[in-house]
Every structure is written in structure tokens, then in C-alpha cells.
């Protein structure tokens, strides 16, 4: 295998990123642009790899890079640490803990998540109470809890 051929999953990732950014800037919803970019980037990988023995490895590496890119975008979208870093970056002189909490507190975090979960039907608000709607995020939560127990040995970061 040549060096440039070995880099095929990286070329696929570059195509994925370029097309995802173009689609998002053209107004496509973020999640849809991620799927569109991933599908577009897989075309050159499958095309060049063909039915060669390298195809499973190429697709595995490309799939993993696509998964990482999705999480990179998701971190920017939802991660509390990234938002805190942003608030500190914009403050210039630094912020006290109270200052940070005033700019980004638990009330805002909860409201943003409840809105996202109700908007996409994962939670349903009825008669002043929340209920589970579609079960996709609940299934993910249960898988993540099982993984935490298996790897770290606890269900939550607050467990002793």
C-alpha cells in the first residue's frame, strides 16, 4: 500500500468536513448537515477502496473519524466546559466563580436541555409535568450508565 492510499480515510474526512460546513452555512439543520457530510465523505472511500481487502479497515477508520467529528461539533453545541472557556475568553480580565455562574448557571443549562429534549420529542410536557416521549435518549442514557459501571465502576460522577 502506498502512503497516499493509506491516507484514504483522512481524505474522506476532509471531504466530510468541507461538505458539512458548506451544508450548515447554506442553512441545513446541523444534525442533517452532519449526516450529509458523512455520507458524502464515504463516497470517495468506498470508490477508491472498492472491494479490496483494505475496505473494512478504511471504513472503520473513516467511520471513527466521522464519529469524532460529530462529537467535536456536539461539544461546541452542548459542552459546559467549552461554554465556560468561552465566557472566560470574552471576559479578558478573568471572572470570579460568582461571575461565571451569573453568565452561565444551572438554570440556563437546565432550560436549554429541556427545550432541546421537548423540541425533538424525547420529553413531553403535560399538565405541568414531564414524561418520557420517544425513548431514543433514554436508551442512550441506559447504555451510558451501563458503560460507566463497567469501566469506571460507578453510575454517576457524584457516586462515592
Amino acid at each position: 500500500m502506498t502512503v497516499s492510499r493509506a491516507l484514504l480515510p483522512v481524505w474522506g474526512l476532509i471531504a466530510n468536513v468541507v461538505l458539512q460546513v458548506a451544508a450548515a452555512r447554506a442553512g441545513m439543520p446541523l444534525l442533517r448537515s452532519v449526516f450529509a457530510g458523512f455520507a458524502a465523505g464515504s463516497v470517495p472511500v468506498i470508490w477508491v477502496s472498492g472491494l479490496s481487502p483494505a475496505l473494512p479497515g478504511d471504513m472503520l477508520a473513516y467511520g471513527c473519524f466521522g464519529y469524532c467529528y460529530f462529537h467535536f461539533l456536539n461539544l461546541g453545541e452542548t459542552a459546559r466546559r467549552i461554554r465556560l472557556v468561552r465566557e472566560l475568553f470574552l471576559s479578558r480580565g478573568g471572572l470570579s466563580e460568582e461571575g461565571l455562574l451569573a453568565r452561565y448557571g444551572s438554570a440556563e443549562i437546565l432550560s436549554a436541555r429541556i427545550k432541546r429534549l421537548t423540541d425533538n420529542g424525547q420529553l413531553v410536557f403535560r399538565g405541568g409535568r414531564y414524561f418520557i416521549g420517544r425513548p431514543a435518549v433514554l436508551v442512550m442514557a441506559r447504555i451510558m450508565t451501563a458503560m460507566k459501571l463497567a469501566v469506571i465502576g460507578r453510575k454517576s460522577e457524584f457516586d462515592a
Binding site: P53, L60, I109
Partner: protein
């Protein structure tokens, strides 16, 4: 196929080593130790193959990489798996608010859950202060005279995410 066998195989070996270490004691700086284990095993696998281990593997019927491109492909497969695991692991280290909300609502049973009950659980002590402490632990920020300030690493981190969100035309996030 040899690159897939050795790339994924060395990741699996590193994963088992990480699980063994974690059974003894979960390190304080988990990400750093995890990266060290993952890349040390990859380096050991590459060194083994380069030093003639490929011939030994071939005798056992295992395919072995031969060209520079094969070794690069092997490393790419391994690195893609390592990065995917690292990013999944970071989601295991800290509780995700969305997943906690959904678990709490599911746990409340058929009567559902009032928003006030969620707000009582989701306070700053649980949702924000641990992440502020993480900034210090990961050396993204330092605390001077009661003020949190970004380190050079933190400024780079902020610039990367802010510029990418600007490129995508997105808002503040969080």
C-alpha cells in the same frame, strides 16, 4: 487486512490494559493516563513489527504489514479507534445533563416529574462547579486572587471552538 488486524488488535490490547489499571485504581488525570496507555501500546506494536515481529506473526498464520503505507494505515486505524474511545470516555467521566434529566423523568414513573423537582436537582453545585474545577485540573484555566483566567492552552481551546462555531454560523452553545 493485516493493517486492520494489527491496528484493531493493538487497540484491543491497550483497552484491556486500561481496564486492568482502572480495576486497581482510577487515576486522577484519567484522560492523560488513558492516552499514555493507548499510544504506548501502539508504539510497542509498531516497534515489534518493525523489529521482525511480522515474520514471527506470519509463522503463526497472522498477516503482517510490509510497506510504509501499511504501517501508516495500521496507525490510522488504531488512532481513529483511540480517538473515538477517548471522546466516548470523556462522556463517561462527567454526567451529561440531558441524560440525567431523561433518567430522572423515567425514574419518576408514570406520574411524570414536575419542573421544580428537576430544578432542585440541577443546581450549580452539581452542574457547573465541577466543570469549573475541571478547567483547573486540565490546565485550561488558573485561579489568581479569586479570579479564573484562561491559560495559553485554554485560550487556544476557546479560539478553536469559537472560530469553528463562527464558521458554521452558530451561537454561544452550551
Amino acid at each position: 487486512m493485516s493493517t486492520l488486524v494489527w491496528g484493531a488488535g493493538s487497540f484491543l490490547a491497550a483497552f484491556l490494559l486500561h481496564m486492568a489499571v482502572w480495576r486497581v485504581r482510577v487515576p486522577e488525570r484519567q484522560t492523560k493516563v488513558l492516552l499514555l496507555i493507548m499510544f504506548a501500546v501502539l508504539a510497542a506494536a509498531l516497534a515489534f513489527l518493525k523489529a521482525g515481529g511480522g515474520r514471527f506473526a506470519a509463522e503463526l498464520g497472522l498477516p503482517a504489514p510490509e510497506t510504509a503505507g501499511d504501517f501508516l494505515h495500521l496507525a490510522l486505524i488504531n488512532i481513529s479507534l483511540v480517538l473515538s474511545y477517548m471522546i466516548t470516555y470523556s462522556a463517561m467521566e462527567a454526567d451529561s445533563p440531558s441524560l440525567v434529566i431523561v433518567m430522572a423523568v423515567a425514574g419518576a414513573g408514570p406520574d411524570g416529574m414536575e419542573e421544580d423537582a428537576l430544578r432542585r436537582y440541577f443546581n450549580d453545585d452539581r452542574m457547573v462547579k465541577p466543570r469549573i474545577r475541571d478547567l483547573l485540573l486540565d490546565k485550561l484555566a488558573r485561579k489568581d486572587g479569586g479570579l479564573y483566567r484562561l491559560t495559553a492552552k485554554g485560550r487556544l481551546f476557546a479560539a478553536l471552538f469559537m472560530s469553528y462555531r463562527f464558521l458554521l454560523g452558530r451561537g454561544k452553545g452550551g
